[in-house]
C-alpha cells in the first residue's frame, strides 16, 4: 500500500462521511450535540483537499498530514481524537513509500492507543474506541474482517451507558443509542476495506500481498 492507496482511502472516507453526515448528526443529536456529521464532513473535505494538493510521498506522511488537517479544521472532541489517530498512525508508519498490512496493523494500534491515552477512554465507555479497538485487533485477518469488527463494535455501543464524552452527561438515558463516534469509526474502516478491494490494497484476507 503506497501513498496513493492512503489518499484513496481518505477520499473514500470523505465521500462516505458526506453521505452519512445526516445519520451521524442524528445519532449525535440523541445523546450529544448534533454536530458530529458536520464535524466529520468539514474535516474530511479539508483532508482530501490537503492531501490532494500537497501529495505527500509516503503513506506515513499522507496520514500525518491528514491528522494535522483534522486537528486544524474539526474542533470538538472528534477533531483532536481522529487527528491524533491519523497523525500517530502516520508517524508510526515512518517514511517508507510502501507499507504492508502488518505494518499498518501495528501503526494503527499505536494510533488507537494514542486516542485512548488522549481521551482517557477504554472500550466499554461508549466511544469511537468501541469500534476502533476491535477493528485493530481483527486487522490481522484482513481489512474486511477489521471493517466487520468495527461495525460490530459500533453496534455494540447501543446498549452501553456512556462514561466519556457528552453522552456521559445523560447517564442511564444514553442507553439505547449508538455512539456517533463509533459509527464514524466504522465508516473509516469500511472505507479502508473498500479501498483495499478496489484500487489495489491487499486483497481480502490475502496476507502479505503488496501491490499498487
Amino acid at each position: 500500500m503506497d501513498a496513493a492507496f492512503f489518499r484513496g482511502w481518505l477520499t473514500e472516507v470523505a465521500s462516505a462521511v458526506d453521505e452519512e453526515a445526516d445519520r451521524l448528526t442524528e445519532l449525535d443529536s440523541a445523546i450529544g450535540d448534533a454536530d458530529h456529521g458536520t464535524n466529520m464532513r468539514r474535516g474530511f473535505t479539508a483532508v482530501v483537499t490537503a492531501v490532494g494538493e500537497q501529495r505527500p510521498a509516503s503513506p506515513g506522511a499522507v496520514l500525518a498530514l491528514a491528522g494535522r488537517t483534522l486537528v486544524s479544521t474539526v474542533g470538538g472532541a472528534s477533531g483532536p481524537l481522529y487527528g491524533t489517530l491519523l497523525r500517530r498512525t502516520g508517524k508510526a508508519l515512518g517514511e517508507a513509500p510502501e507499507v504492508g498490512r502488518a505494518e499498518l496493523a501495528s501503526a494503527l494500534r499505536a494510533g488507537v492507543d494514542a486516542v485512548s491515552r488522549l481521551g482517557g477512554a477504554v472500550p466499554g465507555d461508549k466511544t469511537m474506541l468501541d469500534a476502533l479497538v476491535p477493528a485493530v485487533e481483527a486487522l490481522g485477518e484482513g481489512l474486511d474482517a477489521a471493517s466487520a469488527a468495527a461495525e460490530r463494535g459500533a453496534q455494540a455501543t447501543v446498549p452501553m451507558r456512556a462514561r466519556k464524552g457528552r453522552a456521559s452527561y445523560l447517564g442511564e438515558r444514553s442507553v439505547g443509542h449508538q455512539d456517533p463516534g463509533a459509527a464514524s469509526s466504522a465508516l473509516l474502516l469500511a472505507a479502508l476495506a473498500r479501498t483495499g478491494r478496489q484500487g489495489g490494497g491487499p486483497a481480502p484476507d490475502a496476507g502479505e500481498v503488496r501491490d499498487d
Binding site: S29, D33, A34, T38, K164, G171
Partner: protein
C-alpha cells in the same frame, strides 16, 4: 424551525462580520475566527483568552474588552474551536506577561485548548489554563466527562479579567481564576430544545407540559424530565440542587441566565423567585445579573449560577468592564 441565516455553513463567519461592523473597538479576524481587544496586546498585562463552540452568545466574544477577555475564539456551532485559533489568539494578545486560557470542561474544549497551549508554548508564550466545571447537574463525575462548564464561565472571565486589568501577574490571575471556578455552581432548566443551523430541527423532543431539569448548553437533554412547573417551583428545585451540592458559607453573586428563547419579562420574574428561594434558605445576595449571557441558541429556559464571594472577589466583580455584553464602571 426557521432561522435568520443565509446558509448553515456560514453562520459563524456571518456573525463575526456582523460583530466587526457593530464593534469597531474590537479587532475581528473573520477568516481566522479570532476576536481581539482593539488595543491588544495591552502593554504589561496578563492576557485572557477563551473560546468554545458558537451558539452561546454573547459568551465569549461578547466579553472581549477592557476588564475581561483579551481574545475569544469561536468554534462552529456547539463545536470547540481548533487549536490554531487559540494559539494565534495567544500570540496576538501576549504582552510578554503570559496568557490564561479559560476553558469550559467539555472533552472537545479541553483537548483543543491543550493542543493550543502546546503550540503557544512552542512559540514562546507562557500559558496557564483554568477549567470551568460548575454544572451540578452532572453528579457522578467519575463516570462522566466531568462537570460541564456553563454560567460560571462569566464569573471566571470577569473576576480574573479584572485582576489582570489591575496588573496582577499570571500566577495570581490563574489563582484567582481557579478560586472563582471553584466557587461557582450552576443548574439549568429547559422548556424547549434548541435548533442548530445544521440540523434545522429541535435537538430533542420536549412536549408541551414537560420540562427538563439539569440541562447543559448544547441542546442536550437533561438529568430528569418533569411535568411543567411554575416559576416558583423551578426556582426552588434549582436552588435546592445548587445548595445540595455546596452550601455557601457567605454571600453569593447570582446570575439568572436565559438560554436564549425566554423573554426578559419572564427571566426577571424568575429572578424574583430565585431571590425568594435563596432568602428562605438564608443565602445573602449582594449582586445579581439577569439576562441572556450563556445561551443555547433559541432554547427556552434558564440557568442559575451562584458564585460565592469574599471581599476581594466582590471588588473584582465591581471593577470596571467594557465589553459588548457586560459594561459598567469607570
Amino acid at each position: 424551525m426557521k432561522q435568520l441565516i443565509n446558509v448553515p455553513e456560514r453562520v459563524v463567519a456571518d456573525a463575526l462580520r456582523g460583530m466587526a461592523a457593530a464593534h469597531p473597538e474590537l479587532t475581528v479576524d473573520v477568516e481566522q475566527r479570532v476576536v481581539l481587544r482593539g488595543d491588544a496586546p495591552v502593554l504589561d498585562k496578563v492576557a485572557l483568552v477563551s473560546g468554545g463552540g458558537s451558539g452561546h452568545e454573547p459568551l465569549h466574544a461578547g466579553f472581549v474588552g477592557p476588564g475581561m477577555l483579551d481574545a475569544a475564539c469561536p468554534g462552529e456551532v456547539f463545536t470547540s474551536p481548533v487549536p490554531d485559533q487559540m494559539a494565534r489568539a495567544a500570540a496576538a494578545v501576549d504582552s510578554g506577561r503570559g496568557v490564561l486560557f479559560v476553558v469550559k470542561n467539555y472533552t472537545g474544549d479541553v483537548l483543543n485548548f491543550e493542543m493550543a497551549a502546546e503550540l503557544a508554548q512552542d512559540e514562546g508564550v507562557q500559558v496557564a489554563s483554568v477549567l470551568v466545571e460548575d454544572d451540578v447537574a452532572v453528579t457522578d463525575s467519575t463516570f462522566t466527562a466531568g462537570r460541564r462548564g456553563t454560567g460560571g464561565t462569566l464569573f471566571v472571565e470577569k473576576l480574573a479579567g479584572a485582576a489582570a486589568e489591575a496588573g496582577a501577574p499570571l500566577e495570581r490571575v490563574e489563582r484567582i481564576a481557579r478560586r472563582v471556578a471553584a466557587s461557582c455552581r450552576s443548574f439549568g432548566v429547559a422548556l424547549t430544545a434548541c435548533t442548530t443551523p445544521a440540523k434545522g430541527r429541535p435537538t430533542f423532543d420536549l412536549p408541551e407540559g414537560e420540562l427538563e431539569l439539569g440541562i447543559g448548553i448544547h441542546g442536550e437533554p437533561g438529568r430528569e424530565r418533569r411535568p411543567m412547573m411554575t416559576s416558583g417551583e423551578i426556582a426552588d428545585a434549582t436552588v435546592d440542587a445548587l445548595l445540595a451540592d455546596d452550601r455557601p458559607h457567605g454571600p453569593v453573586l447570582v446570575l439568572v441566565n436565559g438560554m436564549g428563547g425566554t423573554p426578559l419579562l419572564e427571566l426577571y420574574g424568575f429572578n424574583a423567585e430565585v431571590r425568594r428561594a435563596l432568602g428562605e434558605r438564608g443565602v445573602a445576595v449582594p449582586r445579581t445579573l439577569v439576562g441572556n449571557y450563556v445561551t443555547s441558541l433559541d432554547m427556552a429556559g434558564c440557568s442559575v449560577t451562584l458564585c460565592q464571594v469574599d471581599e476581594e472577589m466582590l471588588r473584582l466583580w465591581d471593577a470596571p468592564v467594557s465589553t459588548p455584553a457586560l459594561r459598567w464602571g469607570r
